[in-house]
Amino acid sequence: MQAINQGNKKTVIVLGILTLAALALPIVGIPYQEYAMSVLTFAFIYTLLGQSWNLLGGLAKQFSLGHAAFFGLGAFATAACSSLGMPALISLAVGGVAVAVFSLPIGLICFSARGPYFTIITLAIAEILRIVFLWRPELSGSEGILLPPSIFSTRIGIYYLTLGLTAASIFTFRWMARSKQGLALVAIGDDEDACSEIGIKVKYIKSSTLLVSAGMAAVAGGCYGLFTQYLSPNDVFSINYSLEAIFISTIGGIGSAFGPLVGALLVSLLEETLNPLVPGAHLLVLGAILITIMFLLPKGLVTLFKKSDDKQGPRMQIKIKRRQPAA
């Protein structure tokens, strides 16, 4: 126990310093400040998206390929609210809640299937939304829509907003993962039939998690819309966001609270450095990194930072596995 506490203390100190540095970044003048802020802002938006996927995909192993649906819906809902004249923060919140409610029927549809079938339904839902939004001019049409400027269209505004939301998402994840619900989710990921046999309300647990997950993805989409001030269905509903949500969580560490942040920093850094040189190159590099990580570090980059005495740390599992043949 003491070792764990000491490890935690160190982690807390490191995280505190990093948080302070992140908070101070826009105020203290450093070289490449604007660049760093834009990298971090996108990293934070991606963290939200990745974290929302991580809740279902990481804990319960429900590999959704449709988080772009919630991302895009959130972006458009936020845009609709702000063009009605609502303040940006309120439209973000309304968008998040609206999409969370919308996810209930979606959950009903998706969770009737399992495994790869679930993945395919989620993919189909995102594609349907993309096609419908492209088709109906009153929703958006192919021209897309513009958002009115707000305090969050400035670099500093969106930076602090997304920083705060990222911290909130990490706490939400930790809280959910350690709650009874989180345990149930992990159990569902291990064996769904066994869970329902011992009386876990599998569908209820999954749907309520999807509610939180969809809200989180919607807020990520809303932030994206507030910052870029332009949305088009082909962009926000594209499969790339669904894929990035998965990559961010898997590269960073599937089912771990800080995994999406680590993954998102890497993705965002790659995107900002490689995209100006060769458009699209970052996705290629990302794919290569992902395959490497999946084969070498199946639990993601956070494994590198973890202490071996961590409760669910992958290293511990490896140790056990290595001991077995020796014994």
């Binding site: 189909a124 998965i246 290629l284 395959i291 999946m294």
Partner: protein, 288 residues
């Protein structure tokens, strides 16, 4: 236009769509049956085939229909390489394999985007708008040929699986890997062959689609979902189911094109598949 002409048009368009859908799903469902892998990169192989055909026609000046032969050979090579350096290592990772295949999808589509750019391209067929006369009806010759080629390929593949020794081994592994291994079948070899057949048939489908519709490096998603729709409706791993389901979805889409604007016609297949999965989560003709 009188009703019989219209009905014939819809029927032929239905056959045309179905033939392509069956061809692309065939590989997907075979790979699932034998390797227990849901190949999310399947449609990217199709797009890769489209670009290979484009290169063969525009750079080497080949006739597009002759070019299909080297395209299939090239895709077989791609299949062999991806199996040896990638797919064989994903056989025992369980459900997480979907992530590996997303990554493969990302790599293929972005390599294509880097080489060819994001614009929509199509393979010049040289046939233009020439029509074929089928009794009193007229139909675009190009689409007719494409449908014939893909149906012939599907028929050939089915026959191969039914009659040849390798085909029988493939079906054996698909039914039960353990029993097949006990009977002395080299399951890794069978999986390699299945993977190569799957990838090449996807590439052929992509080349054929490229003759008819414009495509871009990211256009695979639509075909991916259609292929999944067919595969699920037919029951993953069931080849007979795939053929029936391909016709059902192709015909339905053709019929709905009467009432719906063309840009939302793929939605039909998606809604169809969601409906089927809600009612029967294992597909209509699932393997027992």
């Amino acid at each position: 236009m009188d009703y019989s002409t219209l009905a014939m048009q819809l029927f032929l368009t239905g056959i045309f769509l179905s033939s392509l859908y069956i061809l692309v799903t065939f590989g997907l469902t075979m790979i699932f049956g034998v390797m227990e892998i849901v190949n999310f990169a399947h449609a990217s192989f199709a797009i890769l085939g489209g670009y290979a055909c484009l290169l063969a026609v525009t750079s080497l000046g080949m006739d597009p229909f002759v070019a299909l032969v080297p395209v299939v050979a090239f895709m077989a090579l791609v299949g062999w390489l991806t199996f040896e350096f990638f797919a064989r290592y994903t056989l025992d990772v369980g459900d997480a394999h979907v992530v590996h295949y997303y990554a493969l999808l990302l790599i293929i589509s972005n390599v294509l985007a880097l080489i060819f750019g994001l614009d929509y391209k199509f393979v010049p067929s040289g046939l233009g708008y020439s029509q074929i006369e089928l009794g009193p009806f007229k139909y675009p010759l190009l689409k007719f040929l494409v449908a014939i080629i893909s149906l012939a390929t599907v028929a050939g593949l089915s026959l191969y699986l039914k009659k040849s020794v390798i085909g029988k081994k493939i079906r054996a592994v698909s039914q039960s890997k353990e029993s097949a291994e006990i009977m002395g079948i080299d399951s890794l070899k069978i999986r390699r062959i299945t993977w190569i057949i799957g990838v090449s048939s996807a590439g052929l489908m992509g080349a054929l689609v490229g003759l008819v519709n414009p495509f871009s490096p990211y256009a695979g998603t639509t075909y991916l979902i259609v292929a999944f729709s067919v595969a699920i409706l037919g029951g993953m791993g069931s080849l007979f189911g795939t053929i029936v389901a391909g016709f059902i979805i192709g015909m339905t889409e053709s019929l709905f094109s009467l009432f719906l604007p063309s840009q939302i016609s793929p939605v039909v297949a998606f809604v169809f598949i969601i409906g089927v999965l809600m009612v029967k989560p294992e597909g209509l003709f699932s393997r027992a």
